[in-house]
Symmetry: C2
Subunit: 519 residues, 2 copies
């Protein structure tokens, strides 16, 4: 389908995408038929490719994006972050209904149960509208050329083939993402074994008892949703939950509050366990595992969820162009997103963790700037992070333990204060935890701010609750700018009470002191 020069309104896009999901017909949006030389061809139109191409276009360059799916935006709106957010929102709502069950207008807690299949169906039916928006915006607002619903292949750093046509380019940016690691277990192919991608594609029954294998973010997030929906969930993980290599800077007090919270909600967490086999005939029936003490565990289930993480899709780029691949399967790049091959860039999940949206988009932007002659570097060794259980949990900077290793005078401001029990304090009382504050105060969240007493600079912010994630984007910026942010500057800001994180006012209660002390 050639759409070049055709105005397509946003509502017109959804049926076009639906039709193409089951066809092999490319959607072609090219200027002058793809003649001439592009400044960059982006292979992969996910977050990295879409934002990278948009930035390159904005800088005055000529980009082309090619994606195998009939929409731009990649896996996020189709299988990954968008459904995860939908499921996490459902989890938070169901969790509140259950804790407050029988009080006020809430139904009895034993009646709180949701069909996972129905929620997945809501996502499946609705996701095309996000796809439609990406296609519309990229064509109409961003004026970027693209070819969708077709695979691309790099012939050499100046040539890309797609949809039976050969395109010339000065640079290639490869951003084809990552794939779910397979479970290397007998029974891993049985019906009833899902990962975040196959869940939204293939689920056709309502699970009642789930075993999650792995302790990744995805494991925690999806497990919390399954449990909240009323599906008894067991997480089987080698490392302690939320204490893995890829998840840095999780404060131990925060970790404990969150993991204890998952247990309090009924999730069974087996740390130090490893799976041996998945058993079943028509569908999974049990996971056989070795427990932390070496004992054999037989865990009944009708649903197994693979939460063991992802590996970059580096095989094709290595085969096409010989780009160097690192020990974890990632395409190796420098801070300008240059691979080992001249004029070939890589971006997004393909270059390894963190497999997060900000990184993908900014990698794409970084490649675009360098291609257009701006020597721009992007360092993502430090970044703000978040995850969901039934809570939203956000953090940036150092944990208390990390700070104590590096600084002589560490001051901690937290709520509840260190010597106060969670159930004795109705604070944090913020957006989304007011009812908890009054009816179940121990569930109303936790927050901590870590400060270097000598320089008065804040070293880390940590929050569990709701409504603070957005703020952490700006806290990250303030923390990382060369001058950082001090407790005194925090104390002079204008808070919007009741603010989900109480950082500003708590800082103000100590900011006046020459010698800082904990609060």
């Amino acid at each position: 389908m050639d759409i070049a020069g055709q105005p397509i309104s946003l509502p017109e896009w959804s049926p076009i995408i639906e039709d193409h999901l089951s066809s092999r017909q490319p959607i072609v949006n090219l200027a002058s038929g793809g003649e001439g030389v592009y400044d960059a061809i982006f292979i992969g139109g996910g977050a990295a490719g879409r934002f990278g191409s948009a930035y390159l276009k904005a800088l005055g360059g000529r980009p082309l994006v090619i994606d195998r799916w009939p929409f731009l935006g990649g896996s996020c709106p189709h299988q990954a972050c968008v459904p995860h957010h939908l499921f996490s929102e459902a989890a938070a709502i169901l969790d509140r209904e259950r804790w407050l069950g029988g009080q006020l207008w809430f139904r009895a807690c034993e009646d709180v149960r949701a069909s996972i299949l129905d929620v997945v169906d809501v996502f499946r039916k609705g996701r095309v509208s996000a796809h439609a928006f990406m296609n519309w915006q990229t064509k109409t607002q961003l004026e970027v050329e693209y070819i969708l619903n077709t695979p691309a292949r790099a012939i050499d750093p100046g040539t890309v083939e797609a949809a039976g046509q050969t395109f010339r380019t000065r640079n290639i940016v490869i951003a084809i993402g990552a794939h779910q690691n397979r479970l290397d277990l007998p029974g891993a192919d049985l019906p009833g074994v899902f990962d975040f991608g196959t869940l939204v594609e293939d689920l056709d029954y309502d699970p009642r008892k789930c075993v999650i294998i792995g302790g990744s973010k995805v494991a925690v997030e999806y497990g919390s949703f399954f449990q909240a929906a009323g599906c008894q969930t067991t997480i089987l993980t080698r490392s302690p939950l939320l204490r893995t290599q890829n998840l840095h800077h999780v404060d131990e007090d925060v970790r404990r509050y969150v993991v204890d919270g998952m247990r309090k909600r009924g999730v069974e967490i087996i740390e130090g366990g490893s799976p041996i086999e998945i058993k079943g005939t028509d569908r999974v029936e049990a996971v056989i595992a070795q427990g932390p003490g070496g004992e054999t565990l037989h865990i009944d289930c009708d649903f197994v969820f693979n939460g063991v993480g992802e590996t970059p899709n580096s095989a094709l780029p290595a085969q096409w162009l010989g780009v160097q691949v690192g020990p974890r399967g990632e395409v190796v790049v420098d801070k300008r997103m240059r691979t080992s091959v001249a004029n070939v860039y890589a971006a997004g999940d393909l270059i390894g963790p963190p497999m997060e949206m900000f990184k993908a988009r900014k990698c794409g932007m970084t490649a675009a700037r360098n291609i257009m002659g701006e020597p721009y570097e992007f360092d993502f060794s430090e970044y703000p992070d978040f995850l969901h259980t039934t809570y939203e949990m956000s953090w940036v900077g150092l944990t208390e333990d990390e700070a104590r290793e590096r600084y002589a005078d560490v001051v901690v401001i937290q709520m509840p204060p260190k010597d106060i029990a969670h159930e004795d304090i109705p604070l944090p009382v913020a957006e989304g935890t007011m009812l908890y504050a009054f009816l179940k105060p121990e569930l109303s969240g936790f927050q901590k701010c870590v400060i270097d007493g000598d320089t008065r600079r804040i070293l880390g912010f940590h929050h569990v609750g709701y409504g603070a994630k957005d703020a952490f984007q700006y806290l990250d910026y303030l923390l990382r700018r060369p001058e950082g942010i001090t407790i005194d500057e925090m104390g002079q800001m204008n808070e919007l009470f009741l603010n989900p994180e109480h950082f500003i006012q708590l800082c103000r209660l100590r900011a006046g002191r020459r010698g800082l002390v904990d609060l």
Copy 2:
């Protein structure tokens, strides 16, 4: 009750406060029996007095706080912002249940109804624990002297009398707040007429039909809660809703989205109307009003809510010390919180609008710093603001219209984009609007960023949805620092996807361009 030197644990505080709520016994927490000279006596222990005294103490001074209630924290946790947040959270939950009624696990929408009385009761029963925390923290963590449950009287700028004792001080900081304006109407004293204070003290039935008189923030916030609970609500206001003197910088597109949203939810809004009389015998039965066209309206109701705003409690300070009072009843202060009388400061709602928490606390801090010899100024002519309907709405900086009046090249980045209908776009998809995004996209919020195309500086941020209020504290800081914040700097930040406000990524989609254009 003399508690000086007695350690009182947090759980021990609640029964002490409960006992004193119905007694005249002061709670006395004095060092050396109040002998010697204080650096400042704070009359009023609300946000201004509590934060001011804590700051003065932190600076090395000796403060004393005196409050008429048996707890510190003032009206906020007792009658004002805390219940408002509880009610707004209830409103958001009920609103979602109704819109999604009959889908997924949500009950049928006609069954969505909550008892306002029950929610008020939850607040009444639980509020003491916030009070307990304030008393505990102020004594134990902040080490501030106080006398509670007793009125204070300033004799002269160096002398304060309370609980039968006279105290000497170098300065007085008066922070005794504001009072609800009376309805100047026949029938205003009938049972069934409430304001935000009497609502939580006196409500003893479940209202079914409410008329709100006035168009203040409180009117909008409480009205949205009443309607969400299933109590048919009419707002009778002279000015267009959300377009009043005290509510500056409300963008017109935002205002329309929010006010239309209230109407869509069934709130009847009569703009340009004015009340004539409240009718009733045992309880209110109707409000008689003049409609916008001069017609007489008879609005049946069993509940009238006074939302006509507040006036500072300046009569006593004027009488005690002769401090100058302004045209709106506010104690006049300079930017250091100094009144017209030497060594007498005023702070909080007493000095007029905005009657917001950040202002109260920072006024107290400002007075403390000046008293302790730091010439510190606080200018609150500009500030971030928010309110709740069933949405959380946050804003800071200029509206689009204001920007266009002052700047030649105004660029607007918004979601949904200007030419796209709300129902055609599933974005903003953020914390708290994911289910809406998939099932009722036109309810999923609205956001706008206003930019000066010439300097590339951001002039204003506006958001309707959930989960963005906390971020606006930092956006306010970034917007107001001397160098401001540009679209380019925004585009280089690390977003936490799905972030409730999409400012960072939307900025990034335009930041590459030399000549900025709308998105």
